[in-house]
Amino acid sequence: MSTVNVRVSVNGEAREDAIEPRLLLIHYLRDVVGLTGSHVGCDTSNCGACTVLLDGESAKSCTVLAVQADGAEVTTIEGMSTDGDLHPLQEAFWSEHGLQCGYCTPGMILMAAADLLARNPDPTEDEIRHGLEGNLCRCTGYHNIVKAVQKAAADGGARPAAEREGVA
């Protein structure tokens, strides 16, 4: 099996790995880097459980080849908190009961960080709901996820910790 080298910064840590060209970014993150917080839910980029940030933009990593991330900065849920300090979105999902089984939660948090709050620090409920349309949750009925994003917005939580620290 031929391999290619990719250079990726994952949560601020520079890496170089020899991988199969067809390796999906989600499997690179989970199986090569060992970060299992991003999940596979649907294989067709409908559910968003695999959402990560690619150079600050949300990306469904089950539909991105790892080689496409060559030279990019990737942020996963593991990079959202630093030294035990939770990101305001993480805090808000916890305080507002915005999760149940937790499987969609990392993707929801990253999508909310990148596609909602980073662009629109004070979104309306409707804007939040449409912003999260690409992320499915079967447990919560979205009610408390919306509340969590509202709370995080009120708490000024627009950027992931790694970026706030200027690391990534």
Binding site: N46, W94, L99, Y103, C104, I128, R138, G141
Partner: protein
Amino acid sequence: MEATTTTGPNRHVGRAIRRKEDPRFITGTGRYVDDLTLTGMLHMAIVRSPEAHARITSIDTSEAAAHPGVVAVYVAEDLPFEGGIPMVWAPPGVEVNAPDHMPLKSGEVKCVGDPVAVVIGSDKYGVVDAAERVIVEYEPKPAVVDPEGALEDGSPLVWEGFGTNKTHEWAVSGGDIDAALAASDVVLEHRIVNHRTAGAAIETRGAFAEWNGHTITLTSSTQIPHITRFILSGVLGIAEDRLRVIAPDVGGGFGSKLNTYGEEALVCAVARKLGRPVKWIETRTENMAYTHHGRDQIAYVTMGARSDGRVTGVRARLICDLGAYFQILTAFIPELGFPVAGGCYAFDAIDLNFTGAFTNKFATDAIRGAGRPEMTHWVEVMMDRLARELDLDPAEVRRRSFIPKEKFPYETPLGIVYDSGDYEGTLDKMLAMLDVEGFRREQAELRAEGTYRGLGYSTYTEVCGLAPSRAVGPQGVGLQAAFYESATVRVHPTGSATVYSGASPHGQGHDTTFAQIAADRLGLDPEVVDVIHGDTNTGPFGKNTYGSRSLAVGGEAIAIAAERVQEKAKRICAALLEAAPDDIELADGTFRVLGQPDKSMAMAEIAGAAYIPPQELPTEIEPGLEETAFYDPENFVFPFGAHACVVEVDADTGKVRVVRWIAVDDCGRAVNPALIDGQVHGGVVHGIGQALYEQVVYDADGQLVTGSFVDYALPTAAELPSFETDRQETPSPVNSLGVKGVGEAGTIAASPAVLNAVVDALRPLGVDYIDMPLTPMRVWQAIEASTRGVAPAGDPPPDSEGGR
């Protein structure tokens, strides 16, 4: 969040505390089955049938076996099992045609997705490549897809050996239905379809097995580790004590993981054969095809009522599409709805007949609500039809037939005893939140502008808390198991505690609510009470999580065990403080001598004495501070509530939008109000999903059309409103906690409320009923048929485009 309820001496029960399990989930450190790896681990891919019904004429595995990295390719003959996945329902006096359901199929395949071979290798992508190189030749046979057609003479047979597509017939009745209908002023008849849906947990299934020469350890994304151990021990021919089943963090279940599946047996068998760990993770397409579906019933309903709207009785003949196989509860699930066929109402007579049909589809089984949403759907749809027939207010029609609150405990005509209820209480509260007059005004104004808004109600009761063993076990309705729950409560020398429960969560928040229950009884903070679950090697024998049972059965077991610990703690405290045990009280988290506030001990001090007994402690007090309890309740519990749905229908496109939802639920005493709301939100959306968007579709050849989330439309945040919820607390007399269950309540309530709202919206256009899912296509067709006199050509074509 603020505390919203405090009850009696409870310091923690009743408070909406943050969940203890959340830190790991919000930081990405949860551990789901696919997050586990072991040195030497192999991956398994499954070769599945693309045919709905066919004879296998040949399987050629040679090319796959030669693929780089492949360790083994097995077909059915290579992996002998003691038996297939068993059906665990054996109803007394009823014959059930239970087909073989082996983990790998040989001879014939009976539905799309049937596994015919497995490929095991070192590379996750490589085994998928190799699986595509397994060449299977099929000779197709006619597929049976329509359950009513399946039951007609001359239909092709799914299982020729049975000579029929009928799986079984089960009937139950109470009261004199003929007399009730004869005495009615109005008798309504209707056919109501409750279509096939998927559980669609966002985490698919997965199973990971290792064999150490003596014991198999199976880690599986399952709701039922203990039950799976029991079933797989038979399938694999290994003693239960040599099979350890672990449910790690589980990414949602909704009933779809309340099963033991062939794939779990396969990874165990392969791991044992190869002596290496083997992992299989289901793809979403496999999940849509071969994780059990739910619902799929056709109800022929007759309802009688007096002219004042009071219902006299109901008769329903239910045709249940069970698919090609029985999973563990398949044949039983429709019948599980029977206890609530009377809904919240004092019907004089109820008469039910269930007929199961084989089709060339995968099995149906428990999906959130499991029989009760189906039963409640037709009851509540008929209540609205009755109101229209008599030109009465639908809330008033319900009220006239409600069982009054002073009649509880209430025995239904079917001999089921509802434990407690106050149906007018939840209805009144809901109506007050709704403002019906305001809505009707707005509705009339909007109609004048060509906008169609509608209001639909659902007042439901449901049966949950499975248990009790005597009612549902072998001598009851015939499940071949008992349904108690267990708990061990251990206070450590440090004064912290661990609760071991046999219930096994997948999002419900057991770590938190169970800690609240134990903490109150131990005088501890929930922060220092850890809850351990989901591992057959830790804690006592359990019966796991489904049927909204964990709190009412598992929580009560914890309460009992914790109270036993408290009693022992009081005896130790009494001995050390030179008081009588009866004079020790637990208050504000401290054990103290009544009337002597200066004489007190914290649990940590008592625990220290329990493990390192001082001389003053009488020798008859055993060291240690740990108790186990098994609890098998004497009755079910019956939560209830009143929901209202407001929809807006675009009459030009048929698109339905839910604009408002009001839910007032009563699930007994609240342990954690935030978690109750969360269950209601999710449950309601599950029901809205079925009513508007979701449908598992097989075409006329038995091909699965909805094989991914591209085709199977789950509700998203963008389609939904925020919810208006409130609670009422009518304690259950069945358990000391006074609790019921809430995991399925929202789903049970939701689908008829949506349908009733859409019909209310479209009444001016003459639309009187539409079968779910109320997709734009179906709604538009119904409007066309009604307003232009275009006769609908039977059922609308199966639409896989979803509702959005």
